[in-house]
């Protein structure tokens, strides 16, 4: 519970309607897209960077935890207020402040929905490539704070690669402006990149300056079925070796294929060990077609028994349908899932998938693996039922073993979801004690009172099981 005086102060800053304290409101801001939840003491919906700054000044003075939040679509518990305090929801700050067509940049407020921003720039023939699967219901600010990825990242890079600058409100309320409308900028430390992927632990990102490129005019998609997982891995390698960079190469493992098929009856080959969905894009139709043909040929040469190339948009959609249906089909198998997000060196994907399968069998809980084969980013999804205590125990052991495996292979804990609270206990194992010390030092320098999203990313004694 916040003191009435503080509530009054907050209401004065953002307006009566934009401070929420009813139990219904607190519940609505207690969750993200994981199975975790915890209620805040209040929710504040600011309308501008200045308002955020004023709110932070109050919070800093009072030592009040502040948890920045976009649309709450995160998959690591990063926006859940485990220490209570104020959820600072940036959804009202959803304006495009400028699209500079000549310099191919855009200034946006953090709360804009990514897909809506994309649609707006695409009307002008421009393109903002990062495409997290949540792009229709996640915000640019959230994407930057988590350095979100997506299928197109193989060719185009992740969110962070498109950030040229930003406005950040620091823990004490100061407003920091970083970067600028230039492609090259080595004027001092790269402060923009300091905040990318920090999940609201170092500052509240309120505005972002983004780099745009021109929109590729042609896209072509192929679908390849591999009886043998290693063959699929080799095909990916050979495609990239041939000098082709597809926009995306998506992988579904045998368990995924089985689960989707059980749910949708699309006629998928449940006997296959892997399906790859590959996409080429570019500005010259002929070049795109040649590329997709080469991709199809390489798949066949490397053990694919069936390769389909979409002839039109409708066929393209139907090829993607299996991949898009993964999430819903998982949810029908068990009430809860833990969607993990490891990345391993690309060459070790087949090995990683096999080892995850062994771990799954060892504990007797299904683990479905799919992800972005082109960049090594895999999503093992553990299916379970939160109501069964024995399941919860197994989930944690499975997740721990998967993380350990990823790190042993030279991989990382997260490729695009972030660390949040779920992966925070494994951070040190993944990055080493020195890196954690430095992270803590940076955190201490920027947020000496530890009020910004406490317990996320850097281990500071807060966990989702209670402090």
């Amino acid at each position: 519970m916040l003191a009435p005086q503080i509530i009054r102060e907050l209401k004065k800053i953002v307006g009566e309607k934009n401070v929420l304290t009813s139990p219904e409101d607190l519940i609505a801001y207690s969750y993200d897209a994981t199975f975790l939840e915890h209620r805040p003491d209040a929710v504040v919906l600011p309308g501008s960077t200045e308002e955020v700054s004023e709110v932070m000044k109050v919070a800093y003075r009072e030592g009040l935890p502040v948890i920045p939040r976009g649309m709450g679509s995160g998959l690591a518990g990063g926006s859940i207020p485990f220490s209570g305090g104020v959820v600072l929801a940036l959804t009202r700050m959803n304006r495009i402040l400028e699209i500079d067509e000549e310099n191919m940049t855009a200034w946006v407020e953090a709360g804009i929905i990514t897909a809506e921003f994309q649609a707006e720039v695409e009307k002008r023939g421009l393109f903002y490539p990062p495409d997290p699967s949540s792009h229709k219901y996640s915000t640019i600010g959230g994407n930057v704070a988590c350095n979100a990825g997506g299928p197109r990242c193989l060719k185009y890079g992740v969110t962070g690669d498109y950030v040229l600058g930003m406005k950040v409100v620091l823990a004490d309320g100061r407003i920091l402006k970083t970067g600028g409308k230039v492609i090259k900028n080595v004027t001092g430390y790269n402060l923009s990149h300091l905040f990318i992927g920090t999940e609201g632990t170092l500052g509240v990102i309120t505005e972002v300056l983004l780099k745009l490129i021109s929109k590729p005019r042609y896209v072509s998609t192929a679908f390849a079925v591999f009886p043998n997982l290693e063959d699929a891995g080799r095909a990916v390698h050979r495609i990239l070796l041939a000098g082709i960079t597809p926009a995306s190469i998506e992988l579904m493992d045998q368990t995924t294929i089985g689960t989707v098929e059980e749910y949708l009856h699309l006629g998928l080959p449940t006997w296959a060990e892997a399906i790859l969905i590959l996409e080429a894009d570019g500005n010259q139709e002929e070049a795109v077609l040649r590329e997709i043909e080469a991709i199809a040929r390489i798949c066949r040469e490397n053990g694919a028994v069936e390769v389909k190339v979409a002839r039109d948009e409708a066929e393209r959609n139907s090829l993607w349908k299996a991949r898009r249906s993964v999430s819903p089909s998982l949810a029908r198998r068990a009430p809860n899932k833990l969607g993990e997000d490891i990345t391993v060196p690309r060459s070790r994907i087949p090995e990683a998938v096999r080892r995850i399968r062994e771990i799954s069998q060892k504990y007797g809980l299904p683990v479905v693996v799919f992800g972005h084969a082109g960049d090594g980013n895999l999503h093992p999804n553990i299916l379970f039922d939160k109501r069964r205590p024995e399941d919860m125990e197994k989930v944690e052991k499975i997740a721990g073993e998967i993380f350990k495996m990823a790190v042993e292979m030279g991989g990382v804990l997260s490729g695009e979801h972030g660390v949040g609270i779920l992966k925070q206990p494994y951070l040190e194992m993944a990055v080493g004690p020195v890196a954690v010390e430095i992270m803590k030092a940076i955190k201490q320098a920027l947020d000496p009172k530890g009020i910004l999203n406490p317990g996320k990313v850097v281990p500071l004694g807060v966990s989702w099981r209670g402090e």
Partner: protein, 432 residues
């Protein structure tokens, strides 16, 4: 009925993965930008209520009633959770278990169940318009003294209102024009009987024009959607039984309606009686025969007018037509046959914010949603807006007035009727 049996089951919410896909699809979230006013939150609130963590406080009740039942969330959920259905079920439960304002039973059990009362209630408005009172009030700018909500309510009604209700001006059996090919029933909605009589008169003419003999029972009663929306389930069932019995006696190929909301409700009768051995078969049979007028015309092949109206028309998808009944091609096909230029507007399938009575219960949200919608209508550049739901027609008409937009609102079939009249050369007509 035991109120507990009305509550949603665990199965209905347990599998929600909270992904958030439904959030940005929800019109109430879109204008409030608050998670609490989103389907994901409503699922969570229902769950927390059932788990005993929330009480039926006024705020809780308000959040459950803020859903527009536009079904956008139901359509988009990757898992198959139906947040809109959960809200309706909760309302039925709250209605049974919570004290209700005195006016509610009066409105739902008395007013909406007696068509004569609905007709009579229009009389003051008709007089107000016809006796020049409205003009007087407006010329004195006295209407500006009213609070915004009342002022908008005053402007909501089309002008002029019909002098007589439609059921009083048409016989119960309307013959086909020319050769009789089919025999259909016509379900006359309350709105069409009193406010949009012209629209349903047009629908009936078009049906007759296409060889239908039409049975339009005089004592048809409200379809029951307002009752479902407010949780008044018992009265809904009573109305449904009355309507089913009414059409059962006749030998009808189809039961046609030109109200999207009535159509979607009538098609659900079967569902609501599925556990009732006496009524399930009858209700199921009734529901199977129900057709929206555009659906029916396309299914049976309507006569295309020889000349198209020289108009630029855009179309708004009523939620209860597009999502509840899956009809989106049919009205467009009718428009394409009837007018020279049909343009799609952006966001044609998003709710207009009417949802029956949101202007009364959630005025600000309803108007904010409407404003978004009307801007999209304006951007389409159309001079006529077509839509197949009287609730939407009223709301959009108000929106146009508020924005000073010279756009007229019609039912698509009304435009088809106009195109028939406009076509002088009958010899050029072809079948679709």
């Amino acid at each position: 009925m035991n109120p507990e049996s009305l509550l949603p089951t665990e199965e209905q919410y347990l599998f929600c993965i909270r992904c958030g896909q439904c959030v940005t699809e929800c019109p109430t979230f879109r204008v409030t930008l608050k998670e609490t006013q989103s389907p994901r939150a409503r699922v969570m609130l229902v769950r927390k209520f059932l788990e005993g963590e929330l009480s039926p406080s006024p705020n809780f009740v308000d959040q459950i009633y803020s859903c527009l039942d536009c079904l956008a969330c139901n359509a988009v959920c990757p898992v198959g959770i139906k947040p809109a259905d959960l809200a309706l079920q909760m309302r039925a439960y709250l209605h049974k278990t919570q004290p209700q304002p005195w006016i509610k039973p009066l409105v739902f059990r008395v007013y909406f169940t007696h068509p004569r009362l609905i007709e009579l209630s229009m009389l003051p408005f008709v007089l107000y318009q016809r006796l020049g009172l409205q003009r007087l009030l407006h010329s004195l700018k006295a209407n500006n003294l009213l609070p915004a909500q009342l002022r908008d309510l005053e402007r909501l009604l089309p002008n002029p209102l019909p002098l007589r209700p439609l059921r009083a001006s048409l016989p119960e059996l309307i013959p086909a024009r020319g050769e009789r090919k089919r025999r259909v029933g016509f379900f006359l909605g309350c709105f069409q009987n009193t406010i949009f009589a012209q629209g349903s008169a047009a629908s009936i003419k078009v049906l007759a024009e296409n060889g239908c003999e039409i049975f339009m029972p005089r004592n048809v009663r409200c379809c029951g959607m307002p009752h479902l929306g407010y949780g008044e389930l018992d009265t809904f069932l009573e109305l449904a039984r009355h309507n089913i019995a009414l059409f059962e006696r006749e030998d009808l190929e189809a039961i046609v309606t030109d109200c999207a909301t009535c159509g979607s409700t009538l098609k659900e009768y079967g569902h609501y009686f599925k556990d009732n051995p006496k009524w399930s078969k009858k209700a199921e049979k009734f529901s199977r025969k129900v057709r929206d007028v555009s659906e029916f015309l396309l299914e049976t092949g309507f006569r295309r007018p020889a000349r198209k109206l020289p108009l630029k028309v855009t179309y708004h998808d009523p939620c209860h037509l597009r999502r509840a009944q899956g009809m989106w091609k049919q009205p467009r096909q009718i428009l394409e046959a009837s007018v020279e230029e049909f343009v799609e507007m952006e966001g044609a399938d998003t709710c207009c914010g009417s949802a029956g009575t949101q202007i009364l219960t959630h005025y600000e949200t309803s108007m904010a949603i409407l404003e978004r919608k009307i801007k999209q209508v304006e951007a389409s550049g159309a001079s006529v807006l077509a839509t197949g739901c009287p609730g939407c027609q009223l709301q959009l008409g108000l929106g146009a007035k508020k924005r000073g937009l010279k756009v007229q609102v019609f039912h698509p079939v009304e435009l088809l009727d106009l195109a028939y009249s406009y076509s002088s050369d009958d010899s050029q007509e072809e079948r679709c």
